[in-house]
Symmetry: C2
Subunit: 206 residues, 2 copies
């Protein structure tokens, strides 16, 4: 029989660092796996795995993401601010091992694209690179950012100015078939999942 | 054979509202399904389904979430600010239909708990209610908030001060087994998914 365990702030403080990191990172549940593509003024491309992309609004089309200075190299954030744009590239089952590898500490003058085996793709709309084989990828212009006082992580909000998507994934009412795209979700720091739909529910009425 | 479709900002503007909402909401991928529990000064409990919970930091233990004024009743946000605390309750397969129903427009003086069939649970640590049958639920104190200039959504950051979890779900290194908990993810506005792990990957090295 299962039993409920209770943890307090003191218990978190007293845990070993690795267990605390795994436990707290697990609490946010299934997280969308995405690669953020940027390019420096010198033309150096950069690719970073991010698990904090969230919906901000549909009209205008906005998404937010959190850049954590202690775990994500600052290059992505510097490039976003310098160029005013970035791409978000969803991660499929066929890509997740390479996507995970982008989190390794590559030297600043080395692009993650060839290092992990992804191909860059450019459009006329923005300077940031797309990941060619990502089934759903979109380009954004930087709209605003906020630095959190509590731990200096940076919230970035972007407006979607271009979307490149496998047409077969778009249903007649606009919903994307994430299962068919074989997109992955992340839990904790290092666990990847595929998903299976339970179906769609009707708009709830009181 | 599949083919890549390209959408621009103009295409988004010209889509019918429902299709645009579904499409843009789908772009953020699999989103963690959570119920936010709050309580007013008068003791009225409130429960709201949120798909924007994200990890902010492990030490101190922090999560963020976005409150969208146009889609989420303001009651939750008002209660958070008034009481300085709230709970986040993960949603399992057994709960997702009731969780979806909390998004209906109930009158302010009616709690979503009895309306959808969830039981309230209180601890000595905070005044906000937990959802008793949620397999992973945690209490937070409000740490900071930021209002986005672009569309007046509100980013809320909370520190986790209590965690109640089925002990069988916690592995020896702290990782939670989200598959065993049968937690669900959301895509778009109304599609729910269960997930299956592909495994954990080693810390990446350059």
């Amino acid at each position: 029989m299962s039993r409920t365990a209770r943890y307090t702030s003191t218990d978190f403080d007293e845990m070993d660092k690795r267990s605390r990191t795994n436990l707290i990172n697990s609490l946010s549940g299934y997280k969308s796996a995405n690669l953020v593509g940027t390019r420096s003024a010198k033309g150096q491309s950069n690719l970073a795995l991010i698990s904090s992309v969230f919906h901000v609004g549909a009209n205008p089309a906005l998404v937010g993401l959190l850049m954590r200075p202690h775990t994500v190299p600052r290059h992505s954030l510097e490039n976003m601010i310098d160029q005013g744009c970035f791409t978000i590239n969803t991660v499929s089952k066929a890509m997740y091992q390479r996507a995970h590898q982008t989190a390794a500490r590559y030297p600043r003058d080395q692009s993650e694209f060839p290092a992990v085996g992804f191909e860059e793709e450019y459009s006329d709309t923005l300077t940031a690179p797309y990941v060619l084989h990502s089934p759903v990828r979109y380009g954004l212009k930087l709209v605003e950012s906020h630095t959190l006082a509590v731990n200096e992580t940076v919230l970035v909000v972007g407006q979607i100015i271009e979307l490149l998507v496998d047409q077969a994934l778009v249903s007649t009412d606009g919903q994307l078939d994430l299962n068919a795209a074989e997109l992955v979700a992340i839990s904790g720091l290092d666990e990847y999942h595929v998903a299976q739909s339970l179906g769609r529910l009707a708009y709830p009425k009181a």
